[in-house]
């Protein structure tokens, strides 16, 4: 099993969720985050003062998936979340040693 983590633009969430659901992915966890990268920050001005906001709002999606679905998932996310403009985000894949469904205690693939 792998834990696929994707940092995406906030307005792409619904599209990504739908595409993943279409693949049969039944669960995911999302958190708000702020990203710093090549995409330039934005400057806000309040009265005289300028504040450069270096961190831009992003969403982080975490999905635990079976090994054999990882490529498909990466492919899907990277297609759906792509706008082609800088700041589209990243996908990171980590090895997942165990997964447990709290409600039932099931582990491994059954837990997903």
């Amino acid at each position: 099993m792998k834990l696929v983590t994707a940092i995406i633009k906030t307005f792409k969430l619904d599209e990504v969720r739908e595409a993943l659901t279409a693949l049969g992915i039944e669960g995911m966890t999302v958190a708000e985050c702020k990203g710093y990268g090549r995409q330039k920050g934005q400057t806000e001005i309040y009265r005289g003062a300028e504040y450069v906001v270096n961190f831009l709002p992003k969403l982080k999606i975490e999905l635990a998936v079976d090994d054999d679905r990882v490529d498909q998932v990466i492919e899907t996310i990277s297609q759906v979340a792509r706008t082609g403009k800088i700041g589209d985000g990243k996908i990171f894949v980590l090895g997942l040693e165990t997964a447990v469904r709290i409600r039932t205690g099931e582990t491994g693939s059954d837990a997903l």
Partner: protein, 470 residues
């Protein structure tokens, strides 16, 4: 006035009565009918004449000794309520929206507790220093604890208690305005001690000089309809002094100190705008022509300043901001405050159009050039806007609006300008010097500034034990 008139009428009738009855009695005896009738009539008429003379006197007295007007009282009660709303929650929210989230509650607390302690002091001594007889700079203590005032005591056509209340709302908001300068880094205890002494040593004397009986500036003929000098220049310069003496916020110019939630600031600015009608039109102290012209002038100057600040920002910065528009509103309200009962609607419009870009420059160009950290721009808006207002009052005042002798430059009285400058300078010096001394003493005793750690953690938890959990 009504009841005095009625009293007079009643008296005349009452006096007339015996005369008439006497006349009747005479007739009843018969002797020389015509004669006695004539005599009786003469007597009756003589008595009646007396009555009329008395009535005339009473009516004349009415002119000099005004009586309670329910209409005026209704408006002044309302105005007091409106000005209180400017402080809680008006300026509290205006400021709270501009600070960082960790300091929001501390800003709100300054307004609430400040309103409490300053009100108590106003009743105890402030009102007396400002509005009782004394020398040209200080009133006396004869009205301390409102001595000698009762429910029936009048001040013009309203109960004096209402006048005390109305003036109290001015006296408690003015010191709190100052705290926008040293915001985010001043100890709560130091702030409250400072405001308390400032009320007594700065606000009350300046109010006495401008509005009090025998006040120095008022006597000279300085025009300040609703407090441009007393409230705005006064608090503005104190804020500048406080900002400089307490030092910059740590991380100033480096860390992101963007206003955390301008919705609050917008609500605060709106309530300031709404409440300011109590402030300005209430300063007419009656519900008549003067209140009417003050209200429309206040509104028009505010509207014009919103437009002019926003357009200036749009041109210079590329985008018109909500904070700009809200700041423009306050600048417009400040500039028209000394002038609202003295200028025409066109004058108010022009004053509003001028103040927008001037204050926009003050909070951006001037502030950046001089490098002080007046956190919420009290000097830039209240100070500069107040000075501009005082001077422009000397330009745009016309006797056709404010009455005999309230003329400025455009009404052929250039001397008024000099008087206005006198008022500005005296206020700058008085408030600036005393504020500096007070702050120095407080710094040497309990200390002005929180520790760096408290500043980093936020004042809400450190000083008040509370947080916003959102």
């Amino acid at each position: 006035m009504n009841h005095l008139l009625r009293k007079a009428t009643g008296a005349s009738l009452a006096l007339g009565l015996p005369a008439l009855l006497m006349g009747n009695a005479a007739w009843a005896q018969d002797a020389s009918p015509a004669e006695s009738a004539a005599e009786a009539a003469a007597e009756a008429l003589g008595a009646a004449a007396d009555v009329v003379a008395e009535t005339a006197q009473a009516v004349a007295a009415v002119a000099t000794e005004p009586s309670l007007s329910a209409g005026d009282t209704a408006w002044m009660l309302t105005s007091s309520v409106l000005v209180l709303m400017m402080l809680v929650p008006g300026i509290a929210l205006f400021y709270a929206g501009m600070v960082r989230k960790k300091n929001v509650l501390s800003v709100l607390m300054q307004s609430v507790f400040g309103a409490g302690i300053l009100s108590v002091l106003w009743v105890a001594v402030g009102y007396s220093i400002a509005f009782s007889e004394g020398n040209p700079f200080f009133g006396g203590l004869s009205k301390a604890m409102l001595a000698g005032i009762g429910p029936e005591t009048l001040s013009g056509t309203i109960p004096e208690y209402v006048f005390v209340m109305f003036q109290m709302t001015f006296a408690i908001i003015t010191p709190v305005i100052i705290l926008g300068g040293p915001a985010d880094r001043m100890k709560f205890s130091a702030a409250m001690v400072f405001l308390s002494f400032w009320l007594v040593l700065v606000y009350a004397p300046i109010a006495h000089m401008v509005w009090g009986p025998g006040g120095y500036l008022g006597g000279d003929g300085v025009l300040d309809f609703a407090g441009g000098t007393v409230v705005h220049i006064n608090s503005g310069v104190a804020a500048l002094v406080a900002s400089i003496m307490i030092g910059k916020r740590s991380g100033y110019g480096v860390e992101n100190m963007a206003p955390h939630n301008l919705s609050l600031t917008m609500v605060g600015a709106s309530l300031l705008w709404v409440g300011w009608f109590g402030f300005n039109a209430g300063s007419a102290l009656s519900a008549g022509a003067s209140a009417g012209v003050s209200m429309i002038n206040t509104h028009v100057a505010t509207a014009a300043a919103i437009v002019s600040w926003s357009l200036a920002e749009w041109m210079v910065r590329g985008k018109p901001s909500l904070l700009g528009a809200a700041s423009g509103a306050i600048a417009g309200l400040v500039v028209i405050t000394p002038a609202c009962g003295f200028v025409t609607v066109s004058g108010a419009l022009i004053m509003g159009l001028i103040v927008g870009p001037v204050c926009f420059w003050a909070v951006s160009g001037l502030k950046a050039a001089l490098g002080y950290d007046d956190a919420l721009d009290v000097w830039g808006v209240h100070g500069i806007g107040g000075i501009l207002g005082a001077i422009l009052t000397g330009v745009f005042a016309v006797a056709a609006i404010g009455g005999e002798g309230k003329s400025g430059l455009i009404d052929g009285n250039p001397g008024q300008l000099i008087l206005q400058v006198e008022g500005v300078l005296l206020t700058l010096v008085w408030s600036g010097v005393i504020s500096a001394v007070l702050l120095k003493v407080i710094d040497m005793t309990i200390g002005l500034r929180v520790s760096k750690e408290v500043e980093t953690d936020g004042l809400d938890f450190a000083l008040h034990g509370e947080r916003i959990h959102d």
